[in-house]
Amino acid sequence: MSFLEIKQVVAGYGPAVALHGVSLSMEKGQRVSLLGANGAGKSSIVNVVSGLLPVRSGEVWFQGERIDGWAAHRIVGLGVSQVPEGRLVFPKMTVWENLELGATTLKDTVQKSRILEQVFDLFPRLSERRKQMAGTMSGGEQQMLAVGRSLMSQPKLILSDEISMGLAPLVVRDIYDTLLHINQELGVTLLMVEQEAKLALEVADTCHLLESGRIVASGPADEMAKSELVRKVYLAED
């Protein structure tokens, strides 16, 4: 069985159905990005995996364990961490407190402080601002904090949702570089939702294209980038 396996998942919000029987699987160490218009169901897939969006039918398996129906906080304990859309840092807490909360599922304090040092190495900016209230930082710094916070739980799988939203291209590049580094050096698997199609194709090795809650195309990122459909609709190239 694959590292992450989603089978025929149907899910939605209230009366609306966001995913109509989506299936996909991922191997350990992969970088997968989800492509598609707003409302196509990209975020829903990520939220289904993290447990924020309940599954109506279908199954979600993570490392041989069936996790659909689990509460979000239990799934975190398995090593699945989400960098949520809109960052959702705790604005009225310090950078340090935010990171500390990221490590809620870890019990070992020695291990905790070691990871904290790692995160500060990856994001020196966070180290400088460890006593600052998260809500007073710039959007880019908050996004770094959100990524750093998700690393604190020592995840095996990171789900990221719209990292680039509202950020300057350079900062976005910086954060993705860090994510790539984490993927290559630490072997953390990445499942990414990215609105900017160009970026999404660049940072991933595999890509799934969604339309109206269904996966309509999948393949290696470089091949997808060359496909007619993606070029026309998502890259606006003629």
Binding site: H73, V76, E97, T104, S150, S153
Partner: protein
Amino acid sequence: MFMQMAVTGLVLGSIYMLVASGLTLIYGIMHQVNMAHGVFFMLGAMATYYATEVLGLPYFAALFAVVLVFPIIGAAFERGIFRNIRHIWLAGYMATVGVWMLMEGLGWQVFGTEQKAVSFPITGLIKLPGGAVLPANKLWVGLIAIAIMAGVYLLVGRTSLGRQLRAVEQSPRAAELMGINADRAMAKGFALGVTLAALAGGLVSTLYSVDPSCGSTPMLKAFIIIILGGLGNVTGSVIAAYILGFIDSFGGSLLGYHAGHFMGFGLVILILIFKPSGIMGDE
């Protein structure tokens, strides 16, 4: 005379602060205005009365028993009634009204209508600099209230439980993603808030005699305080509690009970109209 009133204001303010802090905590974490807060105050007072005057426990042992028992009571109410409806603000509000009615009604049946008083272990008068003379129990109650508040402040500000509570307050969704069980954290927050109300009841029962409706006035004061302080704003509530304590101490004795009442509610309306975020709020 002035000193006397000032010290009385401080004591009153400290007690109000204790009642209001529980209300603030519950509003902050669950976004629910707890109309049953006064009932838990009353239950705390009654528990203290029965533990000391009927069972003969020492006063401080009774307070300790309150600390042990009320978190369980609070958590039970949260789980039994409030958890499933907390996302609908009106339902949540009305449910707390229902609990208030139910428990106060039962209170009259069980505890009876006669007034009950608890004696404080330390008696006598204490002379304060500036010529004020205060009964020892009043002063001690004020000090204990401040000590409890300091404890709560440390609990919420410094411990990992406190961090989790604040995380849930700021974003339940993000808290879940940190691996925090938001439901359980909310139950803990509610239990803590209820326990603070009960402790306040246990303290006040040594100053004034109590009956099953004794929670309403402190609850009204607590509402005024949390609105004045800005719903969910702790620092604001502390300042507001002392403002109200002084208003009641000075205004109450200078203008009479009704004027104090009128001023309190008038203040609420003015604050809500002109600065709904409260005195410390930022907009």
